[in-house]
């Protein structure tokens, strides 16, 4: 087991300023007035009809006053109106909700720049499946922060010169930077890492929730590397098989595995000689083992590296990297 120092100061691309264009005029002015320190850590902007405007920063949620001050109670905060939500919806959908039926079914809309807007409202179902969302009353604009260098601490343990990669599982509780790490891993593996003597390999990202590459109309909005293909919005199991058949990758990258069928698909892919880097929600390795899909995978000793993240020194802190052969605690 390895304990690693907190992630070094990373270089972030994009200041998030272009999100202003997606906000309704009234809220645009308020958010533009936010202090620079808040801007730097801005993770989410939440609009809920009739309730205070909320921004999420690294430390937690903050109410925002009409003057753009964040340290206020809910009574002094700006109350979001139905008109604000209506206008924002028109901006983010280009006034064409009808063209976004798949997005409504998945509950979020991806914007140019890799931003995502989660939707809340009246869910209409058909045969037990979500058909669409009507009367949208809540919007959550998530700012994808591309952190170049997020994978620097992990990389030496994940690759084997000159072009081999280990099967890797990244596990952590939510909001610890799994996806950020995954994105940077994909980028660096794809581009090649000269100082580690690693030549780039073909990477396919199966991006079921459009979070890793943030595709807009099929084109990745985040830098995911020179040799990377993205299957955007594609269910994981089908996506991994499709990639295997059609795109001949060396590495498949995917987010949030955990169901039994994911495990079966992974087994097949791992046996095909393609390497997989995946993430999973878990609070601890023991937590992982309790889930049947992982018990199965660990018993097969498919993963060669387990990376555990936490927020101990901010999001993206690499807690431990466990070698596959030491994963006995998992197998039983």
């Amino acid at each position: 087991m390895h304990h690693l120092a907190p992630v070094p100061e990373t270089r972030e691309t994009g200041t998030g300023c272009d999100i202003l264009a997606y906000l309704p005029p009234g809220i645009r002015d308020i958010v533009a007035c936010l202090p620079a320190s808040t801007w730097e850590q801005l993770e989410e902007i939440r609009l809920r009809v009739g309730r205070p405007l909320v921004v999420t920063v690294r430390e937690g949620e903050r109410f925002v006053s009409p003057e753009g001050v964040t340290a206020v109670g809910p009574s002094k905060a700006y109350l979001v109106t139905a008109d604000d939500v209506k206008r924002m919806l028109q901006i983010i959908t280009a006034s064409s909700l009808y063209a976004l039926e798949d997005e409504l079914r998945s509950g979020f809309i991806t914007l140019p720049g890799g931003y995502r807007v989660g939707l809340a409202g009246k869910v209409i179902t058909e045969g037990g499946r979500v058909r669409t969302i009507k009367h949208i009353a809540g919007l959550n604009l998530r700012i994808a922060r591309e952190v170049r260098g997020a994978a620097d601490a992990v990389l030496p343990r994940v690759i084997r010169k000159p072009d081999q990669v280990y099967h890797t599982l990244i596990a952590s509780p939510p909001r610890c930077g799994k996806t950020t790490l995954l994105r940077d891993l994909a980028r660096q593996l794809s581009n090649g890492i000269p100082h580690l003597g690693f030549t780039g390999v073909t990477v396919v990202i199966v991006d079921e929730r459009s979070e890793i590459a943030g595709c807009y109309r099929g084109i990745p909005q985040c830098d995911v590397g020179l040799r990377t293909d993205v299957l955007d919005g594609c269910p994981k199991v089908e996506g991994m098989m499709l990639a295997l058949r059609a795109l001949s990758p060396r590495v498949i990258v995917t987010d949030e595995i955990g169901r039994e069928e994911d495990a079966r698909a992974l087994e097949e892919i791992l046996n095909a000689g393609v390497k997989v880097i995946a993430t999973a929600h878990a609070f601890s390795p023991e937590d992982l083992v309790r889930r049947p899909a992982f018990t199965y995978l660990f018993r097969l000793r498919l993963f060669e590296r387990l990376v555990l993240l936490s927020r101990r020194y901010g999001p993206g802190t690499v807690d431990r990297i466990i070698d596959g052969h030491k994963l006995d605690l998992a197998g039983g």
């Binding site: 006034s95 064409s96 909700l97 009808y98 063209a99 039926e101």
Partner: protein, 172 residues
């Protein structure tokens, strides 16, 4: 001589006024038909091609009858400005401009105005339903306009000149 010229002017003015009214009667059914066609095109763009609304409106403006194309082009332009205007506001503004230069009556404009609140804010099926509803209303109003045009166009064409001539007779 002067009297003759004056009489000619009065008859001419009466005739022109009559022709102008007659033209209004003749233009309205044509515009209503053009609008039905254009809204049909819009429904196709939305339901088959899932074209985003601003692009769909540009397509409609390009292919629709020039008498009504301006309305769709104006809405598209307003939406592309990204000034934060909703479709409802852009539609109302463009429709206002269109109404002032068209031969449509208030009830025709009212039928069109209702579209503003629904365009682009619901799923395909719903969009097509709303568009079909408006097209149906315009069709009914079109039939009535045809009827009126048949009765009134010729009447007003002659009435203007006759009224002019009558005025000349009275004045002389």
């Amino acid at each position: 001589m002067l009297k003759f010229l004056g009489a000619l002017l009065v008859v001419g003015a009466g005739g022109a006024a009559g022709l102008w009214v007659a033209q209004g009667y003749a233009r309205r059914p044509e515009e209503l038909r053009a609008l039905q066609g254009a809204l049909g095109l819009l429904a196709t763009e939305i339901s088959f091609a899932l074209t985003p609304l601003p692009d769909a409106l540009v397509q409609v403006a390009r292919r629709a009858d020039p008498r009504v194309a301006g309305l769709f082009r104006d809405v598209a332009t307003l939406l592309c400005n990204r000034s934060g205007e909703t479709v409802e506001e852009a539609w109302a503004k463009a429709l206002d401009r269109f109404a002032s230069r068209s031969a449509l009556r208030d009830e025709d404009i009212a039928a069109l105005a209702e579209l503003g609140a629904v365009l682009g804010v619901s799923d395909c099926e719903d969009q097509v339903r709303h568009l079909a509803l408006v097209v149906e209303r315009l069709k009914v109003q079109g039939l009535r306009a045809d009827e009126e045009a048949r009765k009134n166009v010729r009447l007003w064409r002659y009435l203007g000149f006759c009224a002019g001539a009558a005025a000349v007779l009275v004045l002389c």
